[in-house]
């Protein structure tokens, strides 16, 4: 028999009553919150160009320009770039703007079944190339700085390797590079995504895309929930209760929920490349990845490279990110491990300013 907690009966009842009161107040509070109170990605920006579902934006400056070369933020195809500008006091974008960067961002849009045949080749060699061309036209810069996040890091790396003359500096953040290096990771909660993807066959991946035409955002959300099983269960009861009577914290929570709920589908053929060529066959680090009929050669990365990883990243375990040392074609290669998880490193209160400062300090030394 399990021994039960030994708190007194009255104490337990008082605790239960306090608990109920908190829930009641929380429910009332949640019922009163309007959508306009839960806005994300509000930093002012202007659309520069639009192609299919892809949009390039340029942010309005918040400080005098300190770094001449413009920087393009490239997010993953699995989530949305709005995470980089979650709210005013938790915004990588604002941190960069306040330090005098000329910041641009590409919004990949929301892929649908009609985008089934979009490949990573298309994203890198057409859309990303169009964005870089627009930035060069708009600023007169011969080459731009690229800042890739997660899958966006792989896209920027591939572009930089294929078009090195157009990239001045390459910044990778929480980017998977050696997709099998998770096997060296000892933490139980790290790297399940790699294990899960390898548990599927190439045929399984093909059949999923044949059926759905895309890799559904809802499906990926369910897979992500397996990475933190108890957190996924307790976030709408215990976690929510923690913040429900504190309006600023509750609004932070809801903004994150808004970002999580906006999980786009991943274009079909690009998802096949992502899961099979990269997660299963690990072609990038082996130098076997081909885009547009050309090999993505890491030695072609002759520009300075900053590789930022999150020390407690359960989605992209640090060993999978820390894989470029000695493999790139530049001696100016820097690795920077920062405290936090995959998303927390950008949005947590503690990390604010750390990522942005690290990037700006590094870029400012290479802006000649």
């Amino acid at each position: 028999m399990i021994p039960m907690p030994t708190a007194g009966t009255a104490e337990l009842m008082r605790a239960a009553a306090a608990f109920n009161t908190k829930i009641a107040a929380g429910v009332t509070k949640l019922s009163s919150i309007k959508d306009e109170q839960v806005q994300i990605a509000t930093t002012p920006k202007d659309e520069v160009f639009h192609s299919d579902k892809v949009t390039l934006y340029r942010y309005r400056p918040l400080a005098e320009r300190q770094i001449a070369t413009p920087v393009l933020i490239v997010y993953s195809l699995i989530g949305r770039y709005t995470m980089t500008d979650l709210q005013e006091d938790r915004s990588l974008i604002r941190n960069l703007l306040k330090q005098g960067l000329d910041v641009w961002v590409v919004d990949w849009g929301s892929a649908s079944r009609a985008d089934r045949y979009l490949t990573i080749d298309d994203y890198v060699l057409h859309y990303l190339d169009d964005c870089v061309a627009a930035m060069r036209r708009g600023t007169g810069a011969e080459a731009v700085n690229l800042l890739g996040i997660c899958e966006g890091g792989v896209l920027t790396l591939a572009y930089a390797a294929l078009e090195p003359m157009r990239v001045k500096n390459l910044v990778l953040t929480v980017t998977p590079l050696d997709f099998h290096a998770d096997e060296a990771e000892e933490k139980l909660e790290h790297g399940f995504l790699n294990v899960w993807t390898r548990s599927l066959t190439a045929r399984d991946v093909d059949r999923m895309i044949e059926v759905w035409g895309v890799l559904p955002g809802e499906f990926m959300g369910a897979v992500f929930s397996m990475l933190t099983p108890i957190r996924s269960i307790t976030k709408y009861n215990l976690d929510l209760l923690e913040v429900v009577d504190d309006e600023p914290k509750l609004l932070n929570y809801l903004r994150m929920e808004k970002w999580l709920a906006d999980r786009p589908h991943h274009a079909g053929e690009a998802a096949k490349q992502w899961l099979k060529d990269l997660y299963q066959e690990n072609k990038l680090i082996k130098g076997e990845l081909e885009l547009g009929g050309r090999k993505v050669d890491l030695r072609a990365l002759t520009m300075p490279v900053l590789n930022i990883y999150a020390q407690d990243d359960h989605i992209i375990p640090p060993p999978t990110s820390r894989a470029l040392e000695g493999k790139v074609g530049t001696r100016d290669y820097t690795e920077l491990g920062l405290p936090g998880g995959h998303i927390g490193v950008f949005v947590s209160g503690k990390s604010q300013g750390i990522v942005g400062k690290g990037i700006v300090d590094w870029l400012s030394q290479r802006d000649r």
Binding site: V27, A68, A114, D115, R116, Y117, H126, V195, S225, I230
Partner: protein, 292 residues
């Protein structure tokens, strides 16, 4: 045709509402009783009497909090209040925690099931042979779903066993959690560890892949049947639409390649113009405050 899942959900909602009404009536009665008890025992003298009075008062507070809680849920039900969309969705999850889905067979299994189950068979018409094949595939999906759920249920059972063991060991060492919060934390830690181990196990990964595999097989076979029905009527099929999307994508690639080739050729013809434009941009950037 009635969607059995919607029907089931509707019946569950009705049942829940009836139970909520019943519980509310019962609690109101109990609150009155507790109030009476609190009033009577509170007048008693002596230490034992004071103890009873404190517990009865706490009980009365607890009932009142339940009643208030019931009222707040009622006010927050769809149609009664008008919360914003994000808040309302969060509230919905709050009232219907994902834990129920996970305990019953996991949120992931449910997601796969929803994504893999298409229209009901009756929509397809009676093509016996194909229908029989479809039925066979559907049964395989169900079988795989049961296998997957069994693995998940096994993980929860294992988590419970480990929790009991850890609590007993702690109790023997005189360190059993004395507060509910401590016990809950221990349970969540144990359950998290057990589920993570399960998710990485061959048994779990195989069961989940099987569920996915059979689901995909079923949906593709179902599409085949549907297409065989609509094609003779001249209606477009999924396969045809996919072909069109493939062709459009290929055309876009060719147009872009052509545009870039043309632009590169023009740039090569007018190098001096391009250099002049670049120099002008640099001057402008310096004028805007960028360092030289």
């Amino acid at each position: 045709m009635t969607n059995p899942w919607e029907d089931f959900a509707q019946r569950s909602r009705e049942l829940y509402q009836q139970q909520a009404e019943l519980a509310k009536s019962w609690m109101e009665g109990q609150a009155k009783l507790a109030g009476t008890l609190a009033g009577s025992t509170g007048q008693e003298e002596g230490s034992q009497g004071q103890g009873w009075g404190a517990e009865a008062a706490a009980l009365a507070d607890l009932w009142r909090s339940w009643l208030k809680l019931g009222g707040s849920f009622g006010g927050a039900m769809p149609g009664l209040g008008e919360p914003g969309q994000i808040a309302a969705e969060t509230l919905g999850r709050f009232l219907d925690p994902v834990s129920l889905a996970l305990v019953g067979g996991s949120q992931v299994g449910e997601t796969i099931r929803r994504l893999t189950e298409g229209p009901r068979f009756a929509d397809l018409g009676a093509i016996e042979r194909r229908m029989a094949k479809l039925m066979e595939l559907w049964l395989k999906v169900q079988q795989a779903a049961r296998g997957y759920e069994a693995v998940v249920a096994g993980a929860w059972a294992e988590a419970s066993r480990r929790f009991a063991q850890e609590v007993q060991e702690a109790a023997r060492a005189g360190q059993a959690p004395s507060q509910p919060k401590d016990a809950l934390k221990l349970w969540l830690d144990v359950a998290n560890r057990t589920l993570l181990e399960t998710h990485r196990s061959e048994r779990f990964l195989t069961a989940q892949a099987e569920l996915l595999r059979h689901g995909m097989d079923f949906l593709l076979a179902e599409r085949e049947v549907v297409e065989s029905l609509v094609e003779p009527a001249g209606l477009p099929t999924r396969t045809e639409l996919d072909e069109v999307h493939g062709s459009v994508q290929e055309l876009k690639r060719r147009v872009r390649t052509l545009e870039k080739t043309t632009a590169a050729a023009q740039e090569a013809e007018e190098p001096s113009t391009a250099r002049a434009a670049t120099a002008a941009h640099k001057t402008k950037a310096r004028a805007q405050g960028a360092p030289a």
